[in-house]
């Protein structure tokens, strides 16, 4: 090939340029410390480095932020629960003292105050917060665990219990002992036989001072007035009977009574037969044959006839209402309370009665739901509604005395008594037996058929009351005054119930639970147990007060006044008996408290342990994350950073090559043949 000078020059130039490009790349690497300057230098490295950079960002987020936050949160939780454990330990010590030593009045007073103070301490510990967020309240970190001020807000809550929640309570009936004082002791007759103590089964609800359904007492008295009104009308119409309708004993009708009823029924039959158009023949036939039925079915028999009559447009003159029937012996209220054989023309009364019943139905009364043994479906039985509205539950107040709710329940095996003031559901023997028979079925893994649900209302909240939305399925009135309701924790009633677990991402696909929820350690029964103990102690203190008063009176009485002495002595004996009962109850409660607080302490310790184990798990994750972080950073560096030694050597080599190329070019371009001719 013919080589011209130009070719040599161009080749040289091109070689120098190639060297320059190489040198430029190396010096770029040297100064930027990166293997590549642009993605197209090496697409594989560029794309891999995107992924690695992302990994480093993510792992740094976990390592330097999320893990630290999770640690702080766990620490706050752990501290709060440790405090709680201390408080409960103190409570245990007090119960131990109460249960195992003889208490003077002043000791009792001190313990009482201490217990009340400890109770408040328990729940204020639960209001612990981390950076302005409450830590024990699940997802509701903006809501305190307990009410911070007293508040009026309506809640309807459903407690989910099991038969373990049914305990027994004893009630000491102190008759009128507490009313005795130095001025009236002579007129106060106390019968020692009236001092008694009963034990009944109860479910202690989470709250006391529950809703007493405002209008209940008013409606009840209206109902009584209506019954009264009807009863007097009947008695006026049937002077020979001479008894109150409410007292007819169907099982033991006297000959007179039977005749009276027969006459009355015949009167009705005549009226119905003469009615134009005549009444339903079936009704008349049944009335004629009333005696064919056994006495115990008479009530139902009449009730059925009443229904028919009331629904038969032809049977009654407009506006009037025929009531055939008798009042059952237990004075249970239902709409077959009535005249025997009378057309009661008190239109207003009938309408009032209906309105009264409707108002009872409108009261959102408490219910108990549970699964009866052998039932395949959950909650197929419901003891809902007030007895006054045809339900099962009797509302009684704790201050009622004749009989008191406890005595009433003890006497009636089918009773379910709701005492709003103390937040107790008392169960008659039969009801108790029925509830105790519930049990979880092995056949359905996801459902708890042994569950007993109690639904009730509460309006009034004291400072320190635990907020129900952290514990139960409930419907709460909104605080904005709109009258609308919010439903909380709907899932608790379903098998899909999930706890409000807050988890932080602390690694790739690694989450750690950072919160403990109130229902694991801050439980209602701590406070309720304290309430029971405090109340029992207060009862003893009150009786001791009366006893001291009576002893003072006794001192002041002249020895000659034997009548007064005898009266006071009789009263003292009664007080002594009552004190025996009350102290016995107190003792039992202290012992119960020992067991119960121990259980709570165990729960708290489990929570502390749980926090601790999560903390150590976090520590492990932290170490691992640190390693991962280092690994990714190394990988990233290996991928995109240059090996400085290697580049330095290459750069020196490149410089050498460049110099050589320059020298060659210089030589070649220096001379031509022309220089030599």
């Amino acid at each position: 090939m013919r080589i011209t000078n130009r070719i040599m020059q161009r080749n040289n130039l091109s070689n120098i340029n190639t060297n320059k490009i190489y040198q430029d790349r190396l010096s770029n690497q040297m100064s930027s410390q990166k293997k590549i300057n642009r993605p197209s230098d090496d697409p594989v490295v560029a794309i891999r480095s995107l992924r690695l950079r992302s990994n480093v960002t993510e792992i740094t987020q976990y390592y330097s932020k999320n893990i630290l936050d999770a640690e702080s949160w766990l620490k706050v939780t752990e501290d709060a629960i440790s405090n709680l454990a201390q408080v409960i330990t103190t409570m245990l010590a007090r119960c131990d003292k109460g249960a195992n030593t003889y208490l003077e009045t002043k000791d009792r007073k001190i313990i009482l105050e201490e217990m009340q103070g400890l109770r408040d301490a328990v729940y204020s510990t639960g209001d612990a917060d981390y950076a302005g967020r409450y830590v024990f309240t699940g997802y509701r970190t903006d809501t305190s665990l307990s009410f911070l001020t007293a508040k009026k807000q309506n809640y309807t809550m459903t407690e989910q219990l099991d038969k373990g929640a049914i305990d027994s309570v004893s009630k000491v009936d102190v008759s009128n002992l507490l009313d005795i004082n130095s001025t009236n002791y002579m007129t106060m007759n106390v019968d020692e036989d009236n001092i008694s103590s009963v034990d009944v089964h109860r479910i202690r609800l989470a709250y006391s001072d529950c809703s007493d359904y405002g209008d209940f007492d008013k409606l009840k008295s209206e109902q009584n007035a209506l019954i009264e009104k009807n009863a007097s009308a009947i008695n006026q119409a049937n002077p020979p009977l001479g008894y109150q309708v409410g007292n007819v004993d169907l099982n033991n009708l006297s000959a007179d009574e039977e005749t009276a009823i027969k006459d009355a029924v015949n009167q009705v039959i005549t009226d119905l037969e003469n009615a134009n158009p005549p009444a339903d023949q079936e009704v008349i036939d049944r009335l004629k044959n009333w005696q064919d039925n056994p006495a115990e079915n008479l009530k139902d028999h009449f009730a059925e006839i009443n229904n028919k009559l009331n629904n038969d447009p032809n049977a009654v003159v407009d506006g009037n209402r025929v009531q055939v029937g008798v009042t059952p012996p237990d004075a249970q209220i239902s709409n077959d309370i009535a005249d025997i054989g009378k057309i009661v023309s008190t239109t207003a009364s009938a309408a009032d009665w209906d309105a009264n019943q409707a108002a009872f139905n409108d009261l959102a009364s408490p219910t108990i739901q549970f699964t009866s043994p052998g039932s395949a479906t959950f909650m197929d039985q419901k003891w809902g509604g007030f007895a006054e509205a045809g339900g099962y539950i009797t509302l009684m107040h704790s201050y009622e005395t004749s009989p008191n709710p406890y005595a009433y329940t003890a006497a009636n095996p089918d009773a379910i008594v709701y005492i709003p003031e103390t937040g107790e559901m008392l169960l008659g023997e039969n009801r108790y037996a029925e509830l105790m028979a519930t049990k979880d079925s092995a056949a359905t893994a996801t459902q708890d058929e042994g569950e007993i649900r109690v639904t009730y209302e509460k309006n009034n909240w004291k400072k320190g009351d635990l907020r129900p939305e952290h514990y139960f399925y409930c419907q709460a009135e909104k605080e904005d005054g709109s009258g609308e309701y919010v439903t909380y924790n709907e899932s608790y009633l379903t098998p899909e119930a999930e706890r409000q677990v807050i988890e932080y991402d602390v690694g790739y696909n690694q989450m750690i639970r950072i919160n403990s929820t109130a229902d694991e350690c801050f439980k209602h029964d701590v406070g309720r147990e304290v309430d029971d103990i405090v109340n029992a102690m207060q009862d003893v203190l009150d009786l001791e007060g009366v006893k001291a008063d009576l002893e003072n009176i006794k001192q002041s009485i002249q020895e000659t006044d034997t009548a007064a002495l005898a009266q006071v002595q009789k009263q003292l004996d009664a007080v002594e008996k009552a004190l025996t009962y009350a102290k016995d109850k107190e003792q039992k409660l202290f012992e119960g408290g020992l067991t119960n607080f121990q259980k709570n302490l165990d729960d708290a310790n489990v929570c502390v342990t749980d926090c601790g184990s999560r903390g150590s798990k976090l520590e492990l994750i932290k170490n691992r994350t640190q390693n991962q972080k280092t690994t990714y950073e190394t990988l990233k560096s290996e991928n995109e950073d240059v090996d400085i030694t290697e580049v330095a050597i290459e750069l020196s080599a490149a410089e050498l090559t460049y110099d050589a190329a320059l020298m060659a070019a210089g030589k070649v371009m220096q001379s031509t043949l022309l220089n030599f001719i």
Binding site: N5, R6, D69, Q500, Y504
Partner: protein
């Protein structure tokens, strides 16, 4: 016996020849650095001998100088030009791809997609997850989301700018082609003028012409043909003239002898827009005589091809389908006086099957009217409707119905014979240019926004239902699009189809029933009679209603000029991608939980958002997860850049090699010329010496011999 003075004559020819050679050498040396210069050489031959009728035969008559010729091998020129097209094409590609690469790059120094997205979906989201209801963290998250939208806005702006630059460069290139064409035509004329006068060669002019072709071949592929001009009267005569033809872009004649065709760039009007993402005023190239210069010719090469690929490259994903139906539709027309009147517009329905058309998120069809080609006839369209229906097997059938423009734009009428023809919009260009990257960004943005907004919309903040985070700004008027459920084309499904079909049939049935009843009453029947009769006809009416409604029933959204409602995600692009102004003003509206009654620290919704970033099942973009967007795109960009660079440097090397081979033949070598100089000087000296010698001989002969 020749003349005694014959020798002097011979010596004279020697002097002449040496002189010519010396001059040529001088010329060569003078042009040693001239670009495109071919070395010249004197061709000479021994002059015809004189027959002297002597026993020793003929007597040499000296030397004859034939011509001064350049030394050049055209074979290398052709090779050089062929190769130079590739150099031009990849030169442009590597230049612009480097820019695109810089726009997309994310190297930790400039914040690219990955940095911005990780900020949003790792830093922002993780902090938010720890404080689900805290407005300050929501605000931070919204701030990061804004960085994401701004990133895309900026990227779209950069790519638009780049498309504009490329477009301008196309114009510059076309202008340069014109000027080269005119110069070549002039040179052709001059060359012929010189060469037709005799056997002379216009060496310098030819060199210049080839130099121009070197330049032209970089812009566009060239094909050169030179044929001798024959004398029709005497075919054997060499006229010396030649016809020089230059064809470009796959055989289109640019220069023919001393004539040349001029090209011109014409901006597309807004009615001729091809891609949704195209900027206004892209150039189409025409011959000045009016016929179209096919920019998309497969045989085209050179810088022009590189530029067109970059400007219009759609990875072969242009609209195409089969026309299934033509029809007409009544459209409201805005009159200048503010009133509206009904005008009939033709419609054409095109069934499509390509994945980038069946999924509207991937589509890049103009949203403001354009041109559609129906079996080689072009029509303007105002708007199009994307429709889905389901066949008996529940398989989807996708079609686009174009509403053609009025007769002002469409001079020829749409005829039914277009059915069955192929419909295309734009050209399929198998290169990943600006429209491709834009379409990719749009697809990601639309899919991501749909999924993201759906998650938020299904949740609550406090007890307030969540609202969209990502929105699209309206470009012409103020405000943002509100994407109504009815236009959620991404949620079209057989269930939705059946449900709406039932409703439509029911409506039709009710209307028909009412009409039939009215007809009966008009015949004099009482209402009761009419009602009784209608009841008996009900099954038939229902069947008729179904037959009327069902064949044409489709789920659809419409996009285009004069479309007022139909706000749908297709209108969301990288350019107008933004944060919902409501959320921007009040970040607390961001939902964080799925149930209103759950507590404030509930973050179940945020878990879904987290999955959206990294879980392919939540969102899939080109078979990868949302966060891998840049991996996919940067893969394309980096590979295209790398390829362009590799090709560029290898074609450049080849060009260099060919050029060296050319130089090897045509180049002036200084040593060689030095030798020549000595050689020709010696020749000249000898010839002079000869004359001197003869002078002495004549001196002897005339003055001394026989005197």
């Amino acid at each position: 016996m020749p003349s005694q003075f014959f020798g002097l004559n011979i010596a004279y020819t020697g002097l002449l020849a040496s002189n010519a050679a010396l001059n040529t050498t001088s010329n060569n040396i003078a042009n040693v650095q001239t670009e495109g210069y071919s070395r010249q050489q004197v061709t000479q031959q021994a002059a015809n001998a004189l027959r002297v009728f002597q026993t020793y035969g003929c007597a040499g008559a000296g030397v004859e100088t034939l011509a001064i010729e350049r030394i050049r091998d055209e074979f290398y020129d052709f090779r050089y030009w062929n190769n130079n097209g590739k150099v031009g094409e990849y030169g442009q590609k590597q230049y612009y791809m480097k820019q695109i690469e810089a726009y997309f790059d994310d190297n930790g120094k400039n914040a690219g997609f990955k940095t911005v997205f990780d900020q949003l979906m790792i830093t922002g989201l993780q902090e938010w997850m720890k404080h689900p209801d805290d407005t300050s963290f929501k605000k931070q998250f919204v701030g990061y989301a804004e960085s994401l939208t701004e990133y895309f806005n900026g990227l779209a702006g950069n790519l638009e700018k780049l498309q504009k630059d490329v477009n301008e460069e196309i114009k510059v290139t076309v202008d340069d082609i014109n000027s080269i064409a005119s110069e070549i035509a002039t040179l052709n004329k001059q060359i012929n003028t010189i060469e037709m006068t005799g056997s002379m060669k216009a060496n310098e002019l030819r060199d210049r012409r080839e130099l121009l072709l070197d330049r032209l071949s970089e812009y566009v592929d060239v094909e050169v043909k030179e044929t001798a001009v024959a004398d029709t009267n005497n075919m054997d005569r060499d006229t010396g003239g030649s016809r020089f033809i230059v064809k470009i872009a796959g055989g289109q004649v640019l220069v023919d002898g001393d004539n040349y065709n001029e090209l011109e760039c014409v901006s597309r009007t807004s009615d001729q827009k091809v891609n949704q993402t195209d900027i206004d005023g892209l150039y189409d190239v025409y011959w000045v005589n009016g016929s179209k210069f096919n920019l998309y010719n497969a045989a085209m090469g050179g810088a022009l091809k590189g530029l067109v690929d970059l400007r219009d490259g759609n990875n072969g994903e242009s609209f195409s389908g089969i026309v299934t139906e033509t029809g007409a539709v009544e459209v409201d027309k805005q009159n200048p006086d503010g009133t509206t009147s009904k005008v009939k517009h033709d419609t054409v329905t095109v069934e499509v099957g390509k994945h980038y058309l069946t999924d509207l998120n991937k589509c890049n069809l103009s949203d403001s009217g354009g041109m559609i080609n129906l079996g080689n006839k072009e029509f303007y369209y105002d708007s199009w409707t994307y429709s889905v229906s389901y066949d008996a097997n529940g398989e989807p059938v996708y079609s686009y119905t174009f509403t053609l423009s009025d007769s002002e734009l469409n001079k020829s009428k749409l005829t039914a014979d277009r059915v069955g023809k192929t419909a295309t919009v734009g050209t399929s260009i198998d290169y990943q240019g600006v429209p491709y990257y834009m379409a990719q960004m749009n697809e990601w943005i639309r899919t991501f926004s749909q999924k993201f907004n759906d998650i938020l919309g299904g949740g609550y903040s406090g007890d307030v239902p969540g609202i969209d985070l990502f929105a699209g700004d309206k470009m012409v008027t103020e405000g943002q699009y509100i994407f109504d459920k009815a236009y959620r084309y991404d949620q079209f499904s057989p269930e939705m189809y059946n449900e709406q079909l039932e409703a439509a049939i029911e409506n039709q049935f009710k209307a028909d029933r009412e009409a039939a009843k009215k007809a009966l009453m008009d015949q004099g029947k009482t209402e009761a009679e009419a009602e009784a009769e209608i009841v008996t006809q009900e099954p038939a009416l229902r069947q008729a209603a179904e037959a009327k409604v069902k064949p044409n029933f489709k789920l659809s959204v419409t996009v285009g000029k004069n479309v007022t409602d139909n706000d749908n995600y297709y209108l969301m692009t990288a350019k107008n991608f933004n944060i919902s102004s409501t959320v921007e003003n009040d970040p607390s509206r961001l939902a964080n939980k799925k149930k209103a009654e759950d507590g404030v620290a509930q973050d179940d919704l945020l878990q879904d958002i987290k999955d959206l970033a990294t879980d392919k099942n939540s969102m899939s973009f080109r078979g990868s997860s949302a966060s891998e967007f840049l991996q996919c795109i940067l893969g394309d960009v980096a590979l295209n850049t790398e390829r362009a660079e590799t090709f560029y440097s290898s074609f450049k090397d080849i060009a260099n090699t060919i050029d060296l081979q050319r130089i090897s033949i045509s180049g002036v070598d200084e040593d060689e010329e030095a030798v020549n100089l000595v050689r020709f000087q010696n020749g000249y000296n000898l010839a002079s010496k000869m004359i001197q010698t003869l002078t002495e001989i004549y001196d002897k002969l005339i003055l001394e011999t026989g005197v």
